[in-house]
Symmetry: C2
Subunit: 445 residues, 2 copies
Amino acid sequence: MTENPPVGTDLPVLRVAVLGAGTVGTEVLRLIAEQGEDLAHRIGARLEVIGVAVRDLTRDRGEFVPAGLLTEDAGALVDDADLVIEVMGGIEPARTLLLRAMEGGASVVTANKALLAQEGAELYEAADRHDVDLYFEAAVAGAIPLVRPVRESLAGDRIQRVLGIVNGTTNYILDAMTRSGADFGDALASAQELGYAEADPTADVQGHDAAAKASILASLAFHSRVRLADVYCEGITEVSAQDIAAAARMGRTIKLLSIVERVEDESGERISARVYPALIADSHPLASVSEAYNAVFIEADAAGSLMFYGQGAGGAPTASAVLGDVVSAARLRVRGGMGPRESRYAALEVAPLEELRSAFYVSLTVEDRPGVLAEIAGTLSGRGISISTIHQELGRDRSADGPATAHIGISTHRALESAMTAALDEFSSTVTVLSIDSVLRIEGD
Amino acid sequence: MTENPPVGTDLPVLRVAVLGAGTVGTEVLRLIAEQGEDLAHRIGARLEVIGVAVRDLTRDRGEFVPAGLLTEDAGALVDDADLVIEVMGGIEPARTLLLRAMEGGASVVTANKALLAQEGAELYEAADRHDVDLYFEAAVAGAIPLVRPVRESLAGDRIQRVLGIVNGTTNYILDAMTRSGADFGDALASAQELGYAEADPTADVQGHDAAAKASILASLAFHSRVRLADVYCEGITEVSAQDIAAAARMGRTIKLLSIVERVEDESGERISARVYPALIADSHPLASVSEAYNAVFIEADAAGSLMFYGQGAGGAPTASAVLGDVVSAARLRVRGGMGPRESRYAALEVAPLEELRSAFYVSLTVEDRPGVLAEIAGTLSGRGISISTIHQELGRDRSADGPATAHIGISTHRALESAMTAALDEFSSTVTVLSIDSVLRIEGD
């Protein structure tokens, strides 16, 4: 009943299985070892790590991962556990192991955003069927408490919108590009050298990681099931040094944003979930989030604007989030009761991007002759797109015998995505526009 | 079991009593009325407001507070409730009513920081004894999820320090002084006119409200019982326009900070809990928290630095936090289990301010003659206090026959509070120092 048993009391023991002993797994094991007494007080039970499933038994993993606990037989390990911590990543064998763990009656804590985004429904249903808990705070924005605030603290409110920087690698790269004027390739190479980007950076720079987190956030915020495939996703590989310079001239910064929001139009109430690099005003709190930090901005009807900021990745921060979940799940094992389940009663549909309205920044290379601006403005206004600002400069690539060229940067007021697509198609088929160099959205105004 | 009962299912009903129908109470009732269907889905039960206790039955309180629900008999009301929401404020009769509610088996949600800071131990014990829940997210930093992150999300981590702007009124006043150069009296008057400060602003400007929140945060963060009386507290009434200008010259901003941290010295591990106006670097995230916003910075061993930002007061934001707790408490009523209890196993002592080390900003009016600076520096170094920067200007109040005077602003490196007190005593007794104009601490470096 009490959380403060006198020292010496015999506490119950919870058997913990850890799947994976990489950076996060090692930190989880370190925290359990170093804070064992504190955790026992907070839980009302002792955590006993009964095994650590790894692929390579022979590798030395330091003092907090005793060789005697290592096993290749993850299946047998989860069968013996009260609580399974999954920090191996990837879809399989994580999915099969977590389903097996829950079927066997163990509660589960996972940091695996890809698995949740792709197979969340199956996992939630297994937790429900077998009457166990499924916690995943570490899957979104690392150490930043976000899952718990969204699904518990704001459970009496109505969330309208979540706007987040939830991928540290891409924020590090865009921040480096903004500070140094470097282009994407150089900034990526330097991020890789410094360990901020992986050797294969695809999941980060293509936005897949941010999209997985967006699908999880959208599901929680809107009490609906939003799958990874529902999230529109553009990465940052096409963001150029010129785009960043143009944004700066407009008092803006380019960030990779995960955006989930309620959309209300003639089709009724729907959800939008999307990830893309966008221009936000320098005065927006998200603009000053530097290096590999994460931050998430939430707008709710009653609470107003909230922001959460912290480290979104890394062994220790992710392990902190995992351990918070372990304490919650473990308390429920000891005292009875059940954590929050999947909540999808609202069953809102996801609106396709074409039906949304955004403000845009479009950069074009055009023929440098009288009347071109008027033509371009005409194309846009013909599609119902209203121009906010225009910036024109002479082309840098003017060749001796080709036509004189100019670069034009246009920002628009909010317009239908499908209207912009049509306008861009029209630009592509005209001789006046030599190339469409960038199309980026403007957010957060 | 599921949170998504098909529409039409007969849901159980939870009887809710609301104590108080002021700004927050009215918003709570509005949210329950407007979001009834959503709340029912999220809880798995319907909330039925069975009564609203007020002192004046005759006043019209708008559409969401039906006259038929009003009662002066708060005691009888709580006896009939499954869940009691206390938003009346003050110590009595709130304390007696909440104890009676818990004794009768009701769970309790309160926004009452003063009550928790002063009578928290009694309330926690009652919750424990009667096997009911006591939630209070709204008591600290309004809509910002803070209680849940600190006691649940970070339950597997070790919090070192919490640095917060948790009183909107004083932040509004200091922000206005910083922007306009106004002095305290004028800024307070204008805050009162605009509704940011109450007619009797004592609890805010003297720091009592911030101290109550500091005691709650310290108790949660350090698993110890920290009472209001344990919190050292200075308000902002002595902060002058000159102090703010001097801070700006040093690249700093003055904020009223609630600081709770672990202290480790020859006396072992202890807690410090204190509230005072302090200079923080303009580059610190808390420096840019403007108007009546709140923000809290948390440093934990594994999670690193986290920041939470949002509206700390106001009817709707506070009601959002209250409703989040209502959903949590109600879910537990429906499904069984129990929320987090008081955790005070660590039982750390609170270190008195004199034994702490801080950096200081001291402003003195001194005789303007050779050797004065050396004397002052000598006094400080004699106490082991090392100077970081000195700024000297001619006195503005130089009178015709009095001695020529100068103002000196000194910032120091970290020094023992007791050493600074002794140095200030020495300044008071010397003819060289005509007056000690300000003594402020420097934080967040």
